[in-house]
């Protein structure tokens, strides 16, 4: 198939260029928002990891308390 040239009116061309520029800025904004979501997700993941570690530590300490109370050395 042959490639045919297409002509656009100058007024419409200006409108098209305005829309293209607006689209560019909106895409930049969307990229920024996506980056922010990614950062917040990382924060959430890191917080969950901290909780996981803290809970494991609490469990360890509880185990130590339980050992201290149920199995005294000189009994």
């Amino acid at each position: 198939m042959e490639k045919m040239p297409v002509f656009v009116k100058v007024e419409e061309y200006e409108d098209v260029m305005r829309t293209v520029n607006s689209l560019k800025s909106k895409i930049e904004s969307a990229k920024g928002t996506l980056l922010k979501i990614n950062q917040l997700k990382s924060e959430e993941d890191s917080q969950l990891e901290t909780w996981h570690t803290a809970l494991a530590e609490i469990e360890d300490r509880l185990h130590a308390i339980s050992q201290l109370l149920h199995e005294p050395e000189q009994f």
């Binding site: 409108d15 829309t19 979501i37 997700k41």
Partner: protein, 142 residues
């Protein structure tokens, strides 16, 4: 009156000591260590709750950002539609050879895939839109 008081006293005395229980004591070698073991997890739980508040804020912020992204994308969609309106519409003839191949592929796909459950509302609309775009893209020459 005095007789009645005596009878109640006897009853309570029987209930208070039903069995004699032996009391045992366990020696704690290092009470300071035990207190530390109890206090440290308590401190951690308090810190945990503090960070939960922060987590809640982050989650709210994330939800807000997702809403913002959806808004950004819908704006992009409308701008793209505007761009499409502004540019001249040209009818492009479908390449015959490609169409044959596409038909074969579509037939294969219809035979293999099971009917999926119908999505509803916005999702269905988006899927329809997507299939329309894909159809148009298929008609364009490479």
């Amino acid at each position: 009156m005095a007789k009645k008081k005596k009878t109640t006293r006897k009853r309570t005395a029987r209930k208070a000591h039903p069995k004699e229980e032996k009391t045992y004591f366990i020696g704690i070698d290092d009470p300071a260590e035990l207190r530390k073991l109890i206090l440290e997890p308590t401190r951690e739980v308090v810190q945990f709750l503090q960070s939960y508040e922060q987590f809640k804020k982050t989650k709210e912020e994330k939800t807000q950002s997702i809403k913002q992204l959806k808004e950004d994308l819908s704006q992009i969609k409308s701008e793209m539609a505007k761009l499409k309106r502004l540019l001249p519409a040209i009818k492009i003839e479908k390449p015959a050879r490609k169409e044959k191949i596409r038909e074969e592929v579509v037939q294969e796909v219809t035979v293999r895939t099971k009917p999926a459950p119908k999505p509803s509302g916005e999702l269905e609309e988006l899927e329809k839109e997507l299939s329309e775009i894909e159809q148009r893209l298929g008609t364009l020459p490479e």
